[in-house]
């Protein structure tokens, strides 16, 4: 079946612009995660959804970052007033259920803020 998909794959934004990054998880996967991966670093946890409920947003770096999953499927990560330090690859992952299940990753969206 289809894996996790993300769009766009690449995004260039001017500093101060708002961006929206989309994630389509594997159908039927309850859990959805967003990670930020800066150059040369490992992925860092941003936020977690169980169905439509955002249960953990402790990793969001500032209030300019907002994520939603209104119908418990597709998720959007929005970054307002982008800054250069927001440049990174944003990864989405989904897993079958809550708990220690394998997380399946999408290809990522590479965001470059100029």
């Amino acid at each position: 079946g289809a894996g996790v998909s993300q769009s766009p794959r690449y995004k260039v934004a001017k500093r101060g612009q708002d961006v929206a990054l989309r994630c389509d998880p594997i159908s039927g996967h309850v859990s959805l995660f967003w990670y930020q991966q800066a150059l040369g670093q490992g992925p860092e946890f941003l936020t977690y959804f169980q169905n439509e409920a955002q249960l953990d947003k402790s990793g969001l770096p500032s209030d300019r970052f907002f994520a939603e999953r209104p119908e418990g499927s597709v998720s959007t990560l929005k970054i307002q007033r982008t800054q250069q330090e927001d440049s990174a690859v944003y990864l989405c992952a989904s897993s079958l259920a809550q708990g220690i299940y394998e997380q399946y990753f999408g290809p990522g969206t590479r965001l470059t803020v100029t």
Partner: protein, 109 residues
């Protein structure tokens, strides 16, 4: 704070040589440890997890609680093993992964 350390950014070995990718974790409880791999132009994917104690593509990893390590090993490296390897930890019973900074493995012909 919980931390996963991968001391080597780059590891180069010749084909057929043994490989060991180092990983140390900081959580003192009962961690869940994983190795994820990212081949060129592919997405991050699970290689193995310690609870399953399995060998995938010839790789094994043993959890050493005394040394808080979870090193990844393979006795004979293959060129197709060249990739980026990330060690990850989650607290027992939770979903949140803490990733290391990764080690790039290059297997030379």
């Amino acid at each position: 704070a919980q931390r996963v350390t991968q001391p080597e950014k780059l590891l180069s070995v010749f084909k057929g040589a043994p490989v060991e990718l180092k990983c140390n974790y900081s959580y003192s409880g009962s961690p869940e440890l994983f190795w994820y791999v990212q081949y060129s132009r592919q997405r991050l994917q699970l290689l193995l997890r310690h609870i399953s104690r399995e060998s995938i593509k010839g790789f094994t990893a043993d959890l050493n609680k005394g040394e808080t390590s979870f090193h990844l090993k393979k006795p004979f490296a293959q060129e197709e093993d060249s990739a980026m390897y990330y060690c990850a930890e989650s607290l027992s019973g939770t979903y949140k992964y803490i990733f290391g900074t990764g080690t790039r493995l290059k297997v030379l012909a």
